[in-house]
Amino acid sequence: MSAQIPISTFKPYQGEKARLARAYDYLILVLALFLFIGSFHLHFALTVGDWDFWVDWKDRQWWPLVTPLIGITFPAAVQAVLWDKFRLPLGATLCVAALLIGTWVTRVFAYHYWNYFPINMVLPATMIPGALVLDTLLMLTNSLTVTSIFGGAAFALLFYPTNWPIFGMFHQAVEVANSQLTVADLFGFQYIRTGMPEYLRIIERGTLRTYGQYATPLSAFCSALLCSLMYPLWWHIGKWFASTRYLTKI
């Protein structure tokens, strides 16, 4: 901290000072919302990309591995700022909510109205339950280590079951062309994407299917381990940005 104020001499703001401080709160909140809508959404679109864009990319292996791993980055960094400097346990929820606002705007205007895709083909996934757990765990433990290990793991493990109520119905089987497809696959076949041939999908590939046919838990636990490592990394990136070096008097 830059300017230690003794407890005995601390006086809360009142009157005009309090009103200005509150106005500043709202100003920062609005700016932060737009900043996170833009930056987190861009970061997410460039990294998770197709796994979040298309219903026929949301597989058992890569989608639950990649999405939480990338999704925990901004929440960790923003938590580092908001918790460390303000004891505000809302960094993860704020980031994920901002991401969803940006995602929905894009899906409706860019994918549906501009490029004619039905919105149900491009429904986004949600990470809000994981973000709530991350925020509350950090608040209750006040520990980077505990939040990294258990919060990071929970963020990854909750992702697939959170989204199954949204996307489970797209995994019903359909008989098409003498073969079985999911409804999601059929979206990819019927609704033409010039730049997205079927083989481009990075789905159901790899050697994670070790225990019988249960691929999702393995992916989720792999993601949990990686999220536990990703969380402190981005926490420190956030902390690095949250300098109060120039704040001498407040």
Binding site: L100, P118, T136, A177
Partner: protein, 412 residues
């Protein structure tokens, strides 16, 4: 100020003039941008036809045709081990309802065999009214897109008339345009409401400056109240439990859910249609005269068929160079992709059965330049390729050879 006024006035006049100029929209899909040796020596399309070019929303249209996978596949292009027959459209203005390769329905990608012959059919259904430039084309894994011939399609009617209902294996009829949308919105709103509640719980009280000062003063215990902790504990336990319960309910509701399907379709080529062995053509030499825009191919034709044959057409990269002396070719005059007098021979006499003859074919047309095929001579791989069509007028037969040769440029 005066100088600025003049600048702004000039800018305004320029904008006004420019706004009156006719604007034309892009009408192609960059097919000419791909290196000519890839366009000429990978997927060699022929006999591509559309069932109609004018139809309404909800009506079907099909494109069918054939293609030969060139034997002389460029070394720099990965082999077509995963290929997807696609349709270039500006978004899903049509939907693809059926697709066939060699008569077999297929939905995923397929491995093509160099030297193989295939016929295809794609059935599409109008979704959004408009006039669109459409091509069938192949997405080739790690290689890019090889376009087939393009046409303009006119879709009439109303977008609201479109419907796309399918039946699941369990017999449920679903509307693909709206399936799962309301459910998805509901769950996003549900979790969004919880997130909003959590955010508002904190945002309602003084935030940044006040909390920073209190934390700085060591009053951390006042920033997080016992009530905050109680709510956090409820969220920490309640949210994961709720997630797991909802997941279990969904799993029970869709017990027959299957993973996304990612298999490669296996479809063998047809019996040889091109280079079938009845009339063999061996390319001896190819020279491209830059100033004349003419490719001279020296080929040795070995006619093992029962009738006399004549060379009627050379087709490469969807451009058809026709021999005007051979009249049985069914292309319509006036098409941009057909050069009706583009092919001439040094010896016009038919090649008799059992005869072996070396023929000099001149393929001459501005299309070499306008279609950017002449860029071949500046490529790292400067081999020309294409399909040579030979006709037996008496027996009414057609023989096709896929030919290729290194090109020698002639600049004078």
């Amino acid at each position: 100020m005066k100088t600025h006024f003049k600048t702004w006035l000039l800018a305004l006049i320029a904008l006004t003039v420019m706004s009156g100029l006719p604007l034309s929209s892009a009408q192609a899909h960059g097919e000419k941008a791909l290196e000519p040796f890839i366009r000429m020596r990978t997927i060699q399309w022929y006999d591509v036809q559309w069932s109609t070019q004018k139809f309404n929303v909800n009506e079907e249209v099909s494109v069918s045709g054939k293609f030969h996978v060139a034997e002389d596949w460029p070394i720099s292009v990965p082999k077509p081990e995963a290929s997807f027959l696609n349709i270039s459209t500006p978004g899903p203005v049509l939907i693809r309802t059926e697709r066939y390769l060699n008569g077999k329905p297929w939905t995923n990608s397929v491995a093509l065999q160099p030297g193989g012959d295939y016929d295809f059919k794609v059935v599409l259904k109008g979704r959004l009214p408009g006039r669109y430039h459409i091509h069938p084309f192949f997405n080739l894994k790690d290689a890019g897109q090889v376009m087939g011939p393009g046409v303009w399609l006119e879709i009439g009617g109303e977008p609201g008339d479109f419907s796309n209902t399918i039946k699941t294996i369990n017999g449920e009829m679903i509307d693909m345009e709206s399936f799962g949308f309301a459910n998805g919105v509901f769950w996003h709103l549900f979790w969004g409401a919880l997130a909003a509640a959590w955010l508002l719980w904190w945002v309602r009280r003084p935030l940044f400056i006040s909390r920073y000062r209190m934390l700085d003063a060591g009053l951390e215990h006042e920033l997080i109240t016992p009530q905050d902790k109680l709510i956090a504990k409820l969220v920490l336990v309640g949210v994961p439990v709720l997630v797991l319960v909802l997941n279990a309910v969904t799993a029970n509701r869709y017990p027959d859910a299957i993973p996304l399907q990612a298999g490669l379709d296996q479809i063998l080529p047809l019996p040889a249609q091109v280079n079938a062995g009845t009339v063999n053509v061996d390319t001896l030499k190819a020279e491209y005269n830059v100033s004349k825009r003419s490719m001279v191919l020296q080929v040795k034709v070995d006619n093992r068929s029962q009738g006399a044959v004549r060379i009627g057409e050379f087709a490469s990269s969807n451009v058809h160079f026709m021999n005007a002396d051979v009249t049985n070719v069914g292309y319509i005059p006036g098409r941009d992709d057909v050069s009706n007098n583009g092919l001439s021979l040094d010896n016009v006499a038919p090649i008799e059965p059992g005869e072996q003859r070396t023929v000099s074919i001149e393929v001459r047309d501005a299309a070499w330049e306008s279609e950017r095929l002449d860029g071949l001579i500046r490529d790292a791989d400067s081999r020309v390729g294409g399909l040579l069509f030979l006709y037996d007028d008496v027996m009414g037969k057609r023989y096709i050879s896929s030919i290729s040769a290194a090109v020698i440029p002639k600049f004078i």
